[in-house]
Structure formats: C-alpha cells, structure tokens
C-alpha cells in the first residue's frame, strides 16, 4: 500500500454482530431458562395454560434475539470504538481508543458451540456493572474477537491503521507462558467458601421452586418416612449427620465451582505489552491488561486458604478494582506459586511480596486486640441487660476467639520498601500483601485517631490511581511511617517534614 494512503483515515464500514448470534442468543437464554421451563411443563401436570406460557416465553426470547441483531452495529475508527444498539431506546456508545485499558473476551457455552466470543472493551472509568465507560460486543466470531483484541490494545497507530485496512491481525502474536492450571491446585478448592455459597444458593432455589409448585414433603411417601426417622433419632445425631451432609456437599460443590471457573487457566505475556489471563470450563474468559497500566500485585490469603498454605494473586492496575473478577492473576494455588507469578508479572527475580517485612510496634497489638474484643464485650453487656442470661454468657465465650483474631491481625501487620515497591500487609479474615510501585503513588493520607496519637502510632495510606485507590500501612510507629512515606516518594513529603539536623 502506498504510504500516503496510510495517512488518510480509512473509511470504515459498520459491522454487524455475527449472524450466528441469531441462534446463540436465544440458545444461551434458553439454557438459563431450562429449570423454569422444566418446572412449568413437567410439574405443571400437563396444564395447557402452563405449556402455552412456556411456548410464549420461547417465542419472545427468539424475537428479542432477532431484534437485537438487526439493531446493533459497531465500527472501529482511528480514534474510537463505536456501538449503536437498541430498538425503542437507541443507544450510541463511543469509547476513545487511547482510553482503552482492558479487553475481555467471554464465550458462554452457546457461544462456544458456534465459535463465537463476546468482547468487552473497558476504560476503567469507575466501572459499575457495565455502566458507562465500556462497550460490549456480544458477539463476534472468535477470530474477529482475537483480531479486535490485538488491534485495540496495540498502541502503534501506523501498524494498526494498515491492519484495519487489510482486515487482518497486526502481526503474528508471540506469547510467553507465565503460569498454567495444575490439577493439584484442586486441593485448595474446599478451602474457599464458594462450595458453601453454592450449596446454600441451590438449597434456596429448590425451596423456592417447592413453594412455587406447591410441593410439600408430605407429598412424597419416601421423604415422609425419612422425616419420621429423623424425628425419632436423638438431636445430637441429627445435627451431626446434617453437618456431615452439608460438609460433603460443600466440598463437592467447591470442586465443581473451581473446575468450572478456572479449568484451562493460563497466564501469558503477549508481545503487544499485555498480560493475558484465560480460564473457564464452560464459559471461557480471556482478560487482557495493558502492562503500562500495571502498578503492582496483591497476594490475598483468606483465612482457610492461608491455613492450607494457599493464596490468590490479583493485579493492581489503573482502571481495575482488585475486588472484581477481571483483576485475577492466579486462582487459589500454593502460596509459593502466588509469589512466583507476582515476580514473573512484575519482571523481578525476587517478588517484592516476599520481602521480609518490618513488624509494627507492640502497642499496635494492644490496639488490635482491644478493637476485636471491645465490640463483643459491649454486645455481652447489652444482652445481659435485655436478653436471657445464656445469651450474654455465649457472647462472653466468644471473647477468646476475638482476642485471637486481634492477635492474628497484629501478626499480619508489616511493611517494607524495596527499590521500586512499597510493600504493606494487613488483615486476618483475608490477609492482603500488596506490592505497589512507588512511582504509582500519587499522594499520601496520614491519619491518627485520638488513641493512635497517645500510642505514638499512625496509619500511613498511599493513594494511587490503580486497584483499590488507596493502600494502608496500618498502626505503624508514627516516625517510622513518616520516614517510610518520605523515602518511598522522594521530595513529596520532605517540604512538610521537620527533621532536625
């Protein structure tokens, strides 16, 4: 192609979503509706009205799919991604290309049967459930999705423009594998609470259906017999059996959830300067994070996982919250693996999350324990006044556990400074170790409560555009904390610091 043609912004056509979406969208929605439909048809007992209703639902779903295909168009210009969608409410979304921070590809089961992917372009502008600041194309063919991913994350405009004109990928992608799924990690699945949540959720849904369709346990003879036997058995045995059943179910469910979420997990570094996480058994997800936006890594150890020497790792990047799913770098895995992934991602031989941390003064222990125990004592006091006496005794019995939690919180406290990173650790229920790039710190908040002031402690918080927005060094010795902040970001705090010569 002649060079002057590259200078011209290429005239770009509007694209429609992939034609196969006409089938896939209704299919995906129907898959989600299967339990309802089964319920309506089977349990409705052949009621004509109910069958007609389920038929109506199917027709509506198909119609909706058709309409959304006809009304949705997208195009990618030199500086924007534009999406027009909606029939009754026309929406025109545009995302400036230089604001793009992340590109996520998601393929549900229905998508995968037909080789499609949904692509979501994120700008990180306070994303709340897809509101503003993001565009989702649901869906395009997997090749097109891959082409768009590379195109949108590549910040070499000339190459991109040519690629757009040619309609092919900018270059053959080279990716370096950093970590991959290991079946042995499954042992960490029961240590997450996902199983319990899944069992609880399923139970709730089942009960809901039972009520909806007027099912009573008495309707089933077998169940009746079981209920009778349970009533006769001693209460302790019943509770033990019930606990056992819930535990087994929770373990099985947690394994299922882990496999469904993280099967085929792969973390790679692409040569276009992005980190890419791919995972999922049924629904596959691929999240790409621009490496220029990476400000650090957080290693998270929820209590149970910590007891099993496991951890997760998440990216601290501008435009990504650390609590969301898209910042995940490593699913629950051995702690050593978490540190290794951190070092690979940050391109440092020894991960800063592994740095030996400075303990905080012993006064901090007192503060942690008081803060853990006091609410329990207050609760016991209130119960003693207004409730039967066994309740406040039960509350008092919790005091040792609260004290233990306070002690564990104190043990977690620590901080360190490396060449390029500020490392801070805290938390008991979820112990979080964050390594934050010192150059990513864009301000300080130093706070002292009345009691902290008396104890000579302070909480030094580094504000940043990435991740949670602020990371705390909790209950550090006040002077040590100030010196830490001063050293971490040279010249920022210095003019306001009194350091006698």
């Amino acid at each position: 192609m002649a060079p002057e043609l590259v200078e011209e912004p290429p005239v770009l056509d509007w694209h429609r979503l992939d034609l196969r979406m006409l089938i896939v969208r209704p299919l995906n929605e129907l898959l989600g509706l299967i339990p309802v439909l089964v319920g309506l048809v089977v349990l409705g007992g052949g009621d004509v009205w109910r069958i007609a209703m389920s038929g109506g639902v199917i027709v509506l779903v198909v119609l909706f799919g058709l309409l959304s295909w006809f009304t949705t168009r997208y195009r990618i210009t030199d500086d924007q991604v534009e999406l027009h969608t909606g029939l009754l409410v026309r929406k025109r979304l545009a995302v400036p290309r230089d604001r793009i921070r992340t590109v996520d590809l998601t393929a549900k089961l229905g998508h995968r049967l037909f080789g499609l992917s949904a692509i979501r372009v994120g700008t990180g502008q306070h994303e709340k459930a897809g509101e503003n600041g993001g565009v989702t194309l649901d869906a395009v063919s997997s090749q097109e999705a891959e082409r768009l991913r590379q195109l949108l994350l590549d910040r070499a405009p000339a190459r991109t423009a040519a690629a757009v004109a040619n309609g092919d990928a900018p270059a053959a992608p080279v990716s370096t594998p950093l970590a991959a799924f290991d079946p042995r990690w499954l042992r960490f699945a029961p240590l997450t609470l996902s199983g319990l949540v899944a069992v609880g959720g399923t139970f709730g849904v089942l009960m809901n259906y039972a009520q909806e369709f007027d099912l009573r346990p008495s309707a089933f003879g077998g169940l009746h017999a079981v209920v009778d036997r349970v009533m006769d058995a001693p209460i302790a045995l019943t509770i033990a059996v019930l606990l056992g059943v819930v535990l087994v179910l929770a373990v099985v469910a947690s394994l299922l959830v882990y496999v469904v979420q993280f099967w085929g997990y792969r973390l790679t570094r692409e040569d276009d300067g992005t980190l890419r996480v791919r995972r999922g058994l049924l629904t596959t997800r691929s999240v790409s994070v621009d490496e220029d936006r990476l400000r650090g890594v957080e290693v998270q150890e929820p209590l149970l996982l910590r007891l099993g020497r496991g951890a997760r790792a998440t990216a601290v990047a501008t435009g990504l919250g650390t609590k969301g799913e898209s910042s995940l770098l490593l699913p629950p895995a051995p702690i050593a693996e978490a540190h290794r992934v951190a070092s690979e991602v940050l391109l440092i031989e020894k991960s800063p999350t592994r740095t030996g941390l400075l303990r905080h003064p012993l006064v901090a222990l007192r503060r942690r324990v008081v803060r853990a125990v006091l609410p329990v004592l207050v609760l016991a006091g209130v119960l003693a006044l207004v409730a039967p006496s066994w309740t406040w005794q039960a509350a008092l019995a919790l005091v040792p556990f609260a004290a233990l939690m306070g002690w564990d919180r104190y043990r977690a406290l620590g901080h360190a400074l490396t060449d390029r990173y500020l490392v801070a650790r805290s938390g008991s229920a979820v112990r979080e170790t964050v390594a934050l790039q010192r150059s990513g710190i864009i301000g300080w908040r130093i706070s002292q409560s009345f009691f902290q002031r008396r104890a000579g402690l302070a909480t030094v918080s580094a504000t940043t555009a990435a991740g949670d927005g602020v990371y705390h060094v909790i209950d550090v010795d006040a002077r040590t904390g100030l010196l830490l902040a001063d050293e971490a970001v040279p010249d920022l705090l210095r003019p306001f610091l009194v350091v006698p010569e």
Partner: protein, 176 residues
C-alpha cells in the same frame, strides 16, 4: 537528594521527626459554621426525646436520664468541637503539593502533588453561602485521594482554585 541525608540524620534524632503544620489557618467564620452544623445535628437527636418527655404523663427515669445525657453531650460537643477543629484545621499550597490537616479527635494530613491533580472545584453549601465561605476540592486520579480545603473565605477560595488550575494545566501527562 533527600534520601541519604535523611537516613544519616535519622540515626541520631528519629525522636524529632514529625509533620509540621500547614502554613495557613482557615477563616475564623468556620467556627460559626461548625457550631451551626453541631446544633442542627444535635437538634435532630434531642427534639424527638423532648417531644416524648413533654407529651408522656410520667416518663420513666431512664428516659429522663437519656435526655439529660444527650443534652450534656450536645452542649459539650457544640462548645468544644468547633474551637478544637479551628485550632487543628490548616492548609497550604506550594508549587509542588497541596497539603492539609483536618479533624479534631482524629486528625488527618493529606498531601496531593500538583503534578497529579486532575480537577479543582469550589463548592458552597447554603450555610457556607450565608457566612461567605467556600470549600476547595482537589481531586487526583485516585478515587480515595481528594483533598478538601474547607472554610476558606470565598475570594480566597476562588483565588486558590484559579492558581491551582493554572499550574495544573501547565503540567503535562495524564496524572495517573
């Protein structure tokens, strides 16, 4: 530059390291503003209690005690808090950073480098308008890092906001 010098001096006199107070005090009228805030807040808590006490024939003693305690707390808080705050609240703006100290029982120092400032706003609530006061809010790319300078005289606030906007505009980069 800063680092090595600091570390040398640390060994001997760590005891003395502290943040100095920002240079400027806020307007004296802030005391009135905080007093009004406190009065309004406590009225909301006290009024229902007083209404109950007046309309119930023989109120139980604990209700009387609660009302009296609330009253004492309200008076103490309304008298002490505004003056204490006034002695604490300070601010400063240098070519490098905006620096504030706020609070009373709990205190907080905030530092935002000018190079990372994204927006500068001035805001005046109804009470502030009444007293001719303004709040200047400086935001950075961090969701957690806005610096508020409360209780400035309105002209001073506008001047400061203009000054900061000019310096910020002159600084390149997207401040993340």
């Amino acid at each position: 530059m800063g680092g090595p010098v600091l570390r040398q001096s640390v060994g001997v006199t760590t005891e003395q390291v502290r943040l100095r107070a920002p240079r400027h005090q806020v307007s004296r009228k802030s005391i009135t503003l905080w007093t009004l805030h406190a009065v309004i807040g406590w009225t909301v808590v006290l009024l229902p209690q007083l209404v109950v006490l007046l309309f119930v024939d023989s109120p139980p003693t604990w209700q009387l005690a609660a009302a009296v305690t609330t009253g004492v707390l309200a008076v103490a808080h309304t008298l002490v808090m505004p003056r204490w705050r006034f002695r604490v609240h300070r601010w400063e703006s240098t070519p490098i950073a905006v620096y504030t100290l706020t609070g009373w029982l709990s205190q907080e120092w905030r530092i935002a480098p000018v190079s990372r400032i994204q927006t500068v706003d001035t805001k005046r609530g109804p009470l502030q308008q009444l007293l001719g006061l303004s709040t200047v809010t400086v935001t950075t790319a961090s969701a957690a890092g806005p610096v508020h300078i409360e209780g400035l005289d309105h002209e001073a606030a506008v001047r400061l906001a203009d000054e900061l906007t000019t310096t910020t505009d002159a600084t390149p980069g997207d401040a993340t």
